[in-house]
Amino acid sequence: MSNLLDTFMNIEVFAFIGLLLWLYFKEFGADDGDSSDP
């Protein structure tokens, strides 16, 4: 059970690192006008 939890928690981290890399390389339409009211 603890091994399953450990695996799950680390998969979350791997996915997060993947997400960060994807966000870094993907082009987004940056917001210019609306950011003062988040």
Binding site: L5, D6, N10, F28, S35, P38
Partner: protein, 497 residues
């Protein structure tokens, strides 16, 4: 105030933690300890990798072409002199922790390390580990968070909120707004719980100081709660008025007392021994800081593993908990500086002061153990909060030096709570630079209640676990903010290359 859902949810969450802690202190501490234990066991590698990454990115940014970019418009000049700027950022970042851990931390590490190493080598290693906890990695976390907030606020005109870079870089839509909202909420919770812990630590230390000053033996919880009440009364007035420059004076006074105390101990104590220790610790730190950042102690026994979790990992998430608060503060005082100046100032100078501080207070502790056979380690085992005063009691003018520590701790807590109530008010009202007195007082009350929870736990380990619990999500948020910064800098490049 109740029309603002972020403020309402943040007050409910932090208020619920406070009520739970007051009603069932052991239950909250146990829950925090279990959850943090699971996280630390599974994600230690990620936390160490993340903080090392932050340090490496900071160094790269400082020395890359981005280092020339100003935090503000190109013709903006710094508001504060460099000396004032450095003093203020240091007081905000560490404050009361230095007074608490000055001798206690190196000696606690020494207790463990001397089981594995020759005592003379153990003293050097204990100083090295302490410097690692308070050095480049800690300040890189602050520097990067502050840099993101300063860059997006002053360069790109966004509000000083954790959510602003996310919305600016990834565009304003329902998803980014929701994620930004969640990040603001988690930042508020991390700051509030972190500050509560700091209040508790300060109160523990002031209580020991008052006992040492007036020769009170075993005053117990009554004196602790009395000091806590005086503290709460003292910060109510500053919360209701805009002290502005007055707060800077309080903070600078606390730093001056702290610096004066360090110089006094250095000169009145075994100066050659302490200076020798500082130079050795500096060399060992310069040689090993980066590689130590990647050390996870995976192949060591449980005793070392537990120590690693309850010290190194806890410290790293502790700095992460404080990062949004200190980051906003550092950002506010750094307008007009270049990225290079900002990173070098924020990372190098406080690290150098920390090495000096622990070299002096740790050094006199080790002198007592290794040369004079003073039973300091017994005090470390039984009463961490009293270690600093035990050491000061062996120096000339103990009444004066112990009084100075009590006054400095008191001032540090007042300035921290007032600044934190301001930052929390700002975060929870969409970046309003002048949050209402009612909002600031609400946060003052919540911070006091969280402080009371930690005090009632009467255990510094419980305090550390509860802080770590609040701070853990921030490992993810700071990394997301770093990606926002790197993307924004990449987009700026064509304009100045």
């Amino acid at each position: 105030m109740f029309r603002n859902p972020l403020l309402l949810v943040a007050l409910i969450i932090t208020g619920a933690v406070a009520v739970w802690g007051i009603a069932d202190t052991a239950g909250l501490a146990g829950f925090a300890s279990r959850l943090v234990g699971i996280q630390f066991t599974s994600r230690a590698w990620f936390i160490m990798l993340a903080v090392s990454f932050m340090l490496i990115v900071s160094i790269w940014l400082a020395f890359s072409r981005h280092g020339r970019i100003k935090l503000g418009k190109d013709d903006d000049e710094p508001e504060f002199s460099t000396v004032s700027w450095l003093t203020m950022l240091f007081a905000a970042g560490m404050g009361v922790g230095l007074l608490y851990w000055g001798t206690a931390e190196p000696l606690t590490h020494y207790l463990l390390i001397s089981n594995y190493q020759d005592p003379r080598k153990a003293a050097g290693l204990a100083l090295f580990v302490t410097n690692f906890h308070w050095g480049l990695h800690a300040w890189a976390i602050y520097a990067l968070t502050g840099l993101v907030i300063a860059y997006f606020s002053f360069r790109l005109g966004c509000p000083s909120l954790v959510s602003a870079p996310i919305i600016k870089v990834f565009g304003a839509n329902r998803l980014t707004r929701s994620i930004g909202w969640l990040c603001d909420l988690l930042a508020i919770v991390a700051i509030a719980i972190g500050l509560g812990g700091s209040v508790a630590m300060g109160v523990f230390q002031i209580k020991e100081g008052v006992e040492a000053l007036f020769g009170i033996q075993g005053a117990g919880m009554g004196l602790t709660l009395g000091i806590f009440v005086v503290l709460c009364v003292s910060y109510i007035l500053p919360l209701t008025v805009d002290l502005g420059r007055g707060m800077a004076i309080l903070s600078n006074t606390a730093m001056a007392v702290t610096g004066g105390l360090m110089i006094f101990i250095l000169l009145a104590g075994p100066t050659h021994f302490v200076m020798g220790g500082i130079v050795q610790a500096l060399g060992e730190y310069l040689g090993g800081a980066i590689t130590h950042g990647f050390r996870t102690f995976t192949f060591m026994d449980d005793q070392v593993g537990n120590w690693f979790q309850s010290w190194t990992l806890t410290y790293m998430v502790w700095w992460l908990a404080w990062a949004p608060f200190v980051g906003v503060f550092i950002a506010r005082i750094s307008k007009g500086r270049t990225i290079r100046e900002f990173i070098c100032g924020v990372i190098l100078v406080p690290t150098a002061f920390s090495i000096l501080w622990f070299g002096v207070f740790g050094g006199v502790g080790f002198y007592g153990i290794l040369r004079l056979d003073v039973p300091i380690l017994d005090v470390v085992r039984e009463n961490l909060s009293g270690v600093t005063f035990f050491v000061l009691d062996h120096f000339p003018l103990p009444f004066l030096t112990i009084g100075a520590v009590v006054v400095a701790a008191f001032l540090f807590i007042i300035t921290s709570v007032v600044s934190a109530a301001f930052v929390l008010g700002m975060f929870s009202t969409g970046g309003d630079l002048n949050p209402s007195t009612r909002v600031k007082l609400s946060w003052g009350a919540i911070l006091g209640a969280l402080g009371l929870v930690m005090i009632l736990s009467n255990s510094i380990d419980a305090v550390k676990s509860i802080i770590a619990l609040g701070a853990l999500p921030f490992v993810f948020i700071v990394l997301l903010l770093v990606v926002c910064l790197l993307k924004a800098l990449k987009a700026e490049r064509p304009q100045w290359s």
